[in-house]
């Protein structure tokens, strides 16, 4: 059986403003070295709150399928 998991994916155009970090209910996002936000895949459940908050519109929710870990863009 193939299991799917949703997670947030952040593009490199991120401005590192931290809006997503604040809104994330699971503390799954952090700002790496003041350059870009990064997602902790273990914590992220793909709720999409960060997508709504991001002013730069660089976050999308992707679906990871099975062991292959293939990501498919949804938004």
């Amino acid at each position: 059986m193939i299991t799917t998991k949703k997670k947030a994916e952040i593009a490199h155009q991120c401005v590192a403003c931290g809006s997503c970090v604040k809104i994330c209910p699971l503390n799954a996002i952090s700002i790496h070295k003041g350059i870009k936000a990064v997602v902790n895949e273990q914590k992220c459940v793909g709720c999409g709150k960060c997508v709504a908050a991001c002013p730069a519109a660089v976050i999308c929710i992707v679906e990871m399928e099975g062991a292959k870990n293939e990501a498919k863009a949804l938004v």
């Binding site: 401005v15 070295k33 003041g34 350059i35 002013p55």
Partner: protein
Amino acid sequence: MKQKRWYDYLWIASSVYLVLGFFNILFAWLGLICFITPLLISIIGGSKAYCNKYCGRGQLFELLGGGFGLSLKMKPPRFLRSKWFRYGFLIFFMTMFLLMIYNTYLVFAGTDLREAVTLLWVFKLPWKWTNTSFVSPWIAQFAFGFYGVMLTSTVLGLVTMILFKPRTWCVYCPMGTMTQGICKIKYRKDKNNGTKSKTDSGVVENIGQ
């Protein structure tokens, strides 16, 4: 619900700053904190902690746009999010800032003090109700100029907050663009010097692009 920290209330400081400027323009000098602190944090610490935690203006937009629902929460246009616009706006903003410094120098050199706050780089608002006679004219001139910079960025931030997402200002904020640029340079430099820690490797893809 995340626990609130002291820095989550810095939006109060930003609001008070704007109000204080109406009573006495000399309070505008306090705004330098918002210029120097993020630069120091990015140069010394290599992070955008100021934007992420301590920016009262960003918090104010978040509160007004998100909490009070004053934002249409639309996706900002592509041009506003482009690298060209962000760095172009930074160059424009810094040019205007340097012009303001030059005007301060002219007053220092003997030109008459102009008691006006320039809004959006064009509109001169008469601001004659403040007594600035107890300080040197150039100190007052800088205050007028700097308050104009702060007021202009607040107005731009409010307009884009209403039209787009609450923190749209953060996308093209000159300080944010500058500090992110500093962090990128610092990161590349550290990487080239071989100080990149093991935990960093492989964690972030496309970083520093």
